[in-house]
Amino acid sequence: MNLSWSQRRKLTGLLLVMPTVAFVTVFFIIPLLMTVYMSFHDWPLFGERAYTGLENYQELSKDRQYLKSLDFTFRYTALVTPPIFILGFILASLVRHNIRYIGVFRTIFFLPVVIGLGVSSLLWVWMLDDRIGIFNKILLDFHLVPKAQLFLGRPNTAMNVIILSVVWKTVGFTMILLLAGLQAIPDELYESAEVDGAGYFRKLLYITLPLMRRTIALALILSVIGSVLSFDQFYIMTRGGPRNSTISIVFWIFNNSFTYFKMGYGAAMSIVLLAILVALTGLQLYVLREKE
């Protein structure tokens, strides 16, 4: 076969991207379409599958635990996002200038990010234990609590301590994003504002925040997406308890699909989750597009 040079280039290009395209098709496009297909079926792991139309979706609206999980996930997201952002912003401001040893501090604040969320949850559940946990030990030694607290045993405190652990684990990521945004602001802007007598808060309000709009939006959206998808921390730290109060959406999908093996139903829930996330990502793309 005699191919011209440009035909050979075309063929080579196609061959180069083929493995990737094959992977994405098999492990992404097909499963995505299958999720839609499965969501219209009664689909146990073994045995007969049956087409059930919209039944799974109708069941969703009556599934109280599902609605509770949606509510819990959004509440968790709403509660965990502000501390991650605010602390991330404070850390970014603290490590912004290239003063001596600042690299060490940036690294330390970022370290928990490279630890897996699963493993960090195992670390925190042990620190939070009522009997052998260090938190109770310190609180008791300083007489800050009358008796050992079951942090993970009550819905309110469980939420708070899980948020604490997740802030520790993820805030470094937000810090780095915001740091890049901060460093992109020219120093001259601050200098001329100082000449005009602007203090810290005026500079923050009129220079920093407006100029960092896109970075802030990106940091918030990435943080929100991560929270909506959360699973590990609840599965490991509370197992969804107490009284099923910490079951996130992904957790409930997991339970239905891989514990009760109602996979069609799980697929219907996944479609709803997908819709939420596509909306969030769409928002992200929209916000990031603005500049160009």
Binding site: T12, F27, L94, I115, W126, R131, W168, L277
Partner: protein, 299 residues
């Protein structure tokens, strides 16, 4: 400048000196805050480590002791026989999955990135958008059919099957990063090699690989850390306890599947599983941050 320093104020300090003192105090304050925060951030890891080297009996003490009365590696020793087969098997499982993911991600991203950056072929843009669109869909939402497929081709309970899924989810990032790496190489270098009669593949192999090496390192780090840390898919795809990756195995320890929860051994396990990620990150931090900026911010 001279004018300011001459204008002395009543306390005898020049304005400039005052400003310098103020700046120095603020700087000192900044360091104090930084050090306190750094200690708080390091505390969980340090505390886990301290407990992992206590004697097993002391690691289980109620209330806990602050410092070990005796340093011991017993907790680590106990891990080697923990569960059905001991931790070595699970370290092996995690390592194999991570290595397959790293190699697969590097090969596919390099070839694909080169193809998308330097070649024109029909459907190129559609395929590129298709690969990147994977970023929009979190893998959590397609786990059910992935599981069904993996079971159907008998790849469940295999490290290879899990790695295949991990590779797929490294691809959009890898392709994006490697395409940019290839685009950053001046076209002339490649053209002169083409004129010398080199084939496209030998150009990639002999010339380009060296130039895009930083991108490859970045892809490798992310592939390793992400697959090493991943929990949910590993939990779903493996039902055979011998095949559990480290985080899944440690979760079974936490739930006392093997008897009473052995917290000392669990913390030894936590340390074992965070060391590789931390070591790779600390050694190759620059590449990791490049990836963060290239992958998350610009795209």
């Amino acid at each position: 400048m001279a004018a300011t320093s001459l204008r002395a104020n009543p306390s005898g300090h020049s304005q400039q000196e005052l400003r310098r003192m103020r700046r120095r105090t603020l700087l000192a304050l900044r360091y104090v805050i930084l050090v306190v925060l750094a200690l708080l951030f390091l505390f969980p890891i340090a505390w886990s480590f301290i407990n992992s080297i206590k004697l097993p009996s002391e690691a289980l003490a109620v209330p806990p002791t602050y410092l070990p009365s005796e340093i011991s590696l017993k907790n680590y020793e106990e891990l080697t026989t923990y569960g059905k087969i001991g931790i070595a098997q699970h370290v092996y499982n995690s390592t194999v999955v991570a290595l397959i993911t790293v190699v697969g991600s590097i090969v596919l991203s390099t070839l694909g990135g080169y193809g998308f950056a330097r070649f024109n072929f029909p459907g190129k843009n559609v395929l590129f958008v298709m690969v990147l669109s994977t970023l929009m869909i979190p893998f959590q939402s397609i786990l059910i059919p992935l599981f069904v497929m993996i079971v159907q081709v008998d790849l469940h309970d295999t490290l290879f099957g899990l790695a295949l899924v991990y590779i797929t989810f490294q691809l959009p990032f890898g392709i994006f990063l490697m395409r940019n790496s290839f685009l950053a190489v001046p076209q002339e270098i490649e053209e002169s090699a083409l004129l010398d009669g080199c084939s496209s593949i030998s150009i990639l192999y002999r010339l380009m690989l060296r130039l895009v090496l930083p991108g490859i390192v970045t892809v490798a780090i992310y592939a390793f850390i992400n697959s090493w840390n991943e929990f949910l898919a590993a939990l779903i795809f493996m039902s055979d306890q011998d095949k559990f990756t480290l985080p899944v195995f440690l979760t079974t320890v936490r739930y006392g599947i093997w008897g009473d929860v052995n917290w000392g051994a669990l913390q030894a396990g936590v340390i074992v599983s965070i060391i590789p990620s931390l070591a790779i990150f600390l050694a190759l931090q620059r590449y990791y941050m490049d990836g963060l900026m290239g992958g998350a911010v610009k795209n």
